[in-house]
Symmetry: C2
Subunit: 657 residues, 2 copies
């Protein structure tokens, strides 16, 4: 379609009508953004976006990210109007109702046309950075013929005001991700009122300072929008288009004010809007001619996709590309097996962050889609391997990202990389700073994204850096997040198992909580015992009275405690529990066998005790329920009661009680 | 002292010597920053900073915030050299040892001269924004005579790269906090290597875009430093001084490289540094003449303080000012009592976010030091009251801060406000976005800061906004943070109690988890039952077999469940537990009486079940261990099993087992 305002305006009004009617029907939702950005979105989808509604997961499609996720009716309207199989008009009628894929915020697991789950402000744009990064990386590996697409983002003032925005655009600017194009809904309204209530920033200048191309347009002038988008498309940098819009455009009495942001317009205003827009169709009806214009857009994409598929078939790397995009690991597991065999042959005494590095050496050599990084703690997290060259603008084919001191931006970018497909991202920081990226970890879990978080310095073992750097509540807090595996391995073999299990999970993220300090080897077998989440490391010698359950660095302490108890004739099992979530998934018999009734169960973990009652019932919980302190690690463990001398008497007292 | 380089250089070298020797002795720490910033710090303390070592808590002192907290030897050196009672040289000798106040990172609870705990990057500067805000606010209320000081910050590249930096400087620029002066240690080195590994930002341009004054200096040229600091001091905006420094300056072979950042220099390099610097004194010795120059600096501050104290005595508002700075609440509690009486007389059926607003109306009218705000959710969090006018550059005396979409920045600023003293900050966002500011909440707890977090929309009750906006794991995850009170009140009376208890805690932060949806009143007494954390709301009628323990919106459900059980002849207590932490502090008898052995204990909370085993043992935990969904709230509660129909059969089954 050529740029014909007389046809584009009704197309945009279809978005407006669907949005206001759906929000009204739900009596809940956000009409302001979809109505304000309808014109921009119409130009984007008509003239610029590469997509094929018949193939939502076509690998070389452009990615469209609605970072301002509360304006979800914009994307639902677009997907329906352009002819995606979902959402149907019935789905839209049921906007925000239980069971409708048209959820309050766009959810990637509800609709194939939704690239990522958005709503938590700022993260959509930050995920888009990861998508644009994955695109350049795969382009470097597979060439323009297979990988040549853009990532388009619609972002609001909230996305730009959030701290993560600074991290995201800094990373994108530094890496010169020129396929990233951000359309900023510059409506000068936030929930509390005019943006000047809380901000005075020169946003264009800020983006320029981060190495971005910046332009602007009248967001209600189709020609000007097209001019700006073309300029952005041509820029050799990531690009910000400030689209000056009127929030709620089309609602004649409410547009331009903050009351149109997040509440239904009401029947009267909807009637007024229909008149104002000249929209005569009934709610949830789109006149055939307008719908036809929308549906015609897919044809261009279908042809482009067909050409791409022909190239794919002819490409020598086509099969490998599709394997990676499908998220299937290489069939050959030899490297992992060899590495495990080397551990079994000679179990090393190393920190689990070190054994993570050793595992990664083998894994990154064998799995080319593993792309790693760290938030400026490479030498501490031990995340870089010989196989992973730095990923830079001069070498997008590199596999190691210096994410900078940007934990939240890193985590969100990893989500975007995983959702883009073709890469499996992992990234490191100190466990205590999981706080900084916690909501992105949560979004990994919500989105079923295979992201591996390498969180080192996982306890008091941090030592001298003191309470701000010693995770106390973090392991348990992460266990509280649904659909997330939290591994806390006890030695090199469990660490190798954790890596293998994390990578096998195609629809769940994992956190690896790893020590700074060396740990003695506890096993010398390749039986993948961590797969059951917990297992009996040592059965009682004397008659079993006690079951010690421990994780990570405290498993060897539990072994020492058990030895001391056995020395007193008290039989004690030691259960290592590297992953509580996997243990919870075992059958009742297995769980009851490991944690049998009639024994005193004792948890030992250098973190909060809250939560351990789930496994030890009214047994003992050995942990730390205060903040830590600054001092050498071995002294701290003793100081806070993690010693045989401190624990054994507590157990004896309970047995005697 | 006049600006005499021949005397300033040895003073700066004293910092360098103490820093490298202390790190060496500890075999742990960060020499690079203190050595690099020694010259800048010497000029700051000699010529600009208003301080009196004899009175570390003098209210009108300048605040000095070492945002780059890993360089803690800088502040320990400065405090000791200028003559603060602590740290002593022995404390410095024991740098990073268990029991020394010279912890790995500066801790406000260890040394009176440390204004705030820093180390988690970016948060020192963001707390400084809160301090500068509190200063302007108190200045507006008490005048130049009592309040007229600056906040000086030393920040590193990490502080500037973190996302929170964007939020902090945006807020400071918007509020024109011209008493905030940031000295950026521009050494172009991060842990991973040169800053250009991960960033290409034009930092000066970014700060200018946020409304800041920016200048720069050679960080090793005393005259140039003094020129830049004077320029910054005179600026009518918040100011950034880019101090171009050499990291580890003085270590001739290691300076300027990233290996000097966070590891001891080693004996050889320390010897070389001594020679390079012409420093002949033994470790932990400072030549008398140099020490005398340092100690002389305090005299100026002592005179300034004496003059200030004379003004304080003469000031009609002096006593009120000192009451606020001491953190003592007004003696007259009449307003709170009257409000509680009105609730008892006519208990309302409202959302707890609404009853929080009602409580705040009374409290903000009675407690002038309460300063509120919200991260752009004022109308949702219901945090603004009639007594609290907007705090703006035109009206710093206002008491309501439009923090903008800056959750982390808001929380850190509140920490700074609380630590500055004279104000008690509270601020709102959605509970799910406690994730965004989680590490600042943790820092509230570490720092013993009285900050009240008003976290609304606390469960599935969020409804249509769906899983990204529905807290599932958040209440329990917050309970895992030490030294933090988490209140989840069940009705208007419990909400009023929660507010009273939160404000009474002078050394602990509190989170109030509040509902979006209306809740029925459950009590009509003013007995402050929440003070014990949990209490028996309803005793069993029939013989007690069941104890239902619930919080917040699920307490009324528990009452309904109990009624249904009693209808079947099953006696059931209902225990409301608005604050688990306060309950944990009760004596054994009280706790055992509420949760007696021999009963089936059942927790009901619309969040993860992990953790509830602590209270119900092997009883039942009714909760939600998956993410939520988008739909009307009442349907969601039913869908996820929060109904009498779903719960009663589970209890009966367990009783029958």
């Amino acid at each position: 379609m050529t740029l014909d305002p007389s046809r584009l305006a009704p197309m945009a009004n279809a978005i407006r009508a669907l949005s206001m009617d759906a929000v009204q029907a739900a009596n809940s939702g956000h009409p302001g953004m979809p109505m304000g950005m309808a014109d921009v979105a119409t130009v984007l989808f008509s003239q610029f976006l590469k997509f094929d509604p018949a193939a939502p997961k076509w690998p070389d499609r452009d990615r469209f990210v609605l970072s301002a996720g509360h304006g979800s009716m914009l994307i639902y309207s677009l997907l329906h109007l352009t002819g995606y199989a979902a959402p149907t008009m019935d789905d839209i009628r049921n906007f925000r109702q239980l069971g409708s894929p048209c959820a309050g915020h766009p959810e990637n697991f509800e609709l194939p046309g939704v690239e990522c789950t958005t709503g938590p402000l700022g993260q959509g744009l930050a995920m888009a950075v990861g998508m644009a990064l994955a695109e350049r990386h795969l382009n470097a590996q597979f060439g323009d013929s297979l990988v040549d697409h853009k990532t388009w983002v619609v972002a609001g003032d909230g996305c730009l005001m959030e701290g993560i925005n600074h991290e995201a655009i800094g990373l994108a600017g530094h890496l010169k991700l020129d396929r990233l194009k951000v359309l900023w809904d510059d409506n000068r309204i936030t929930i509390d009122g005019d943006t000047d209530l809380s901000t005075s920033e020169d946003i264009a200048a800020r983006f320029k300072s981060a190495g971005w191309h910046v332009t602007s347009c009248d967001g209600h002038d189709f020609a000007d929008i097209a001019r700006a988008l073309a300029e952005a498309e041509a820029a050799d940098k990531p690009s910000l288009v400030a689209c000056r819009t009127v929030i709620g455009k089309g609602a004649p009495n409410k547009q331009g004010g903050h009351n149109v942001h997040g509440a239904p317009l009401g029947a009267d205003e909807i009637a007024a809007a229909r008149e104002y827009l000249g929209w005569t169709a009934a709610p949830f009806e789109v006149p055939a001619e307008i719908l036809a214009d929308w549906r015609s857009l897919g044809a261009k994409g279908a042809a482009t996709r067909a050409a791409w598929e022909a190239r794919l078939v002819a490409d020598a790397q086509g099969a490998e590309f599709m394997r990676r995009m499908a998220g299937e690991l290489p069939a050959d597991k030899g490297a992992a097996r060899d590495y495990m065999a080397s551990l079994v042959a000679e179990p090393p005494k190393v920190a689990t962050r070190k054994s993570s590095e050793m595992a990664l050496e083998a894994l990154t050599a064998a799995i080319p889609e593993l792309v790693g990084g760290s938030a400026d703690l490479t030498g501490s997290n031990l995340t870089k391997t010989k196989s992973t060259d730095p990923l830079t603008p001069a070498n997008y084919g590199g596999r190691y990202v210096y994410f900078g001191i940007r934990e939240f931006g890193m985590a969100a970018a990893m989500n975007g990389m995983a959702l883009h497909g073709g890469v499996i991202p992992y990234g490191g920081t100190f466990l205590v700073f999981s706080d900084y990226c916690r909501n992105a970890i949560r979004l990994s879990a919500i989105q079923h994204a295979r992201v591996v978080y390498v969180m080192t310095h996982d306890s008091l073992g941090v030592g001298e850096d003191g309470p701000t750097h010693q995770p106390i509540e973090h392991v348990m807090s992460l266990r509280a997040i649904p659909n997330l595996l939290v591994f806390r391995p006890a030695d090199a073999i469990e660490t190798a198992e954790a890596w293998a299990l994390a990578l096998k999970e195609s629809a769940r993220p994992s956190v690896l909580a790893l020590t700074r300090q060396n740990l003695p080897p506890l096993r010398a077998d390749a039986e993948m015992k961590s797969a059951r989440g917990a297992y009996r490391l040592k059965p009682a010698d004397a008659a079993r009275k006690v079951v010690l359950v421990a994780t990570g660095s405290e498993v060897s302490l539990a072994m020492d405690v058990a030895a001391a108890l056995e020395g007193k004739g008290i039989g004690a099992d030691v259960v290592s529990m590297p992953c509580a979530e996997l243990f919870d998934e075992q059958d009742t018999a297995y769980r009851a066998d490991l944690l049998p009734a009639g024994t005193l169960k004792v948890s030992i973990e250098a973190g909060v005790t809250l939560g351990w009652q789930k496994y030890v019932g009214d047994g003992l919980t050995i942990g730390i329920d205060t903040f830590g302190a600054s001092g050498p690690a071995d002294q701290l463990f003793k100081h806070f009661g993690f010693s045989v001398e401190a624990i054994v008497p507590k157990i004896e007292a309970r047995l005697a009680a």
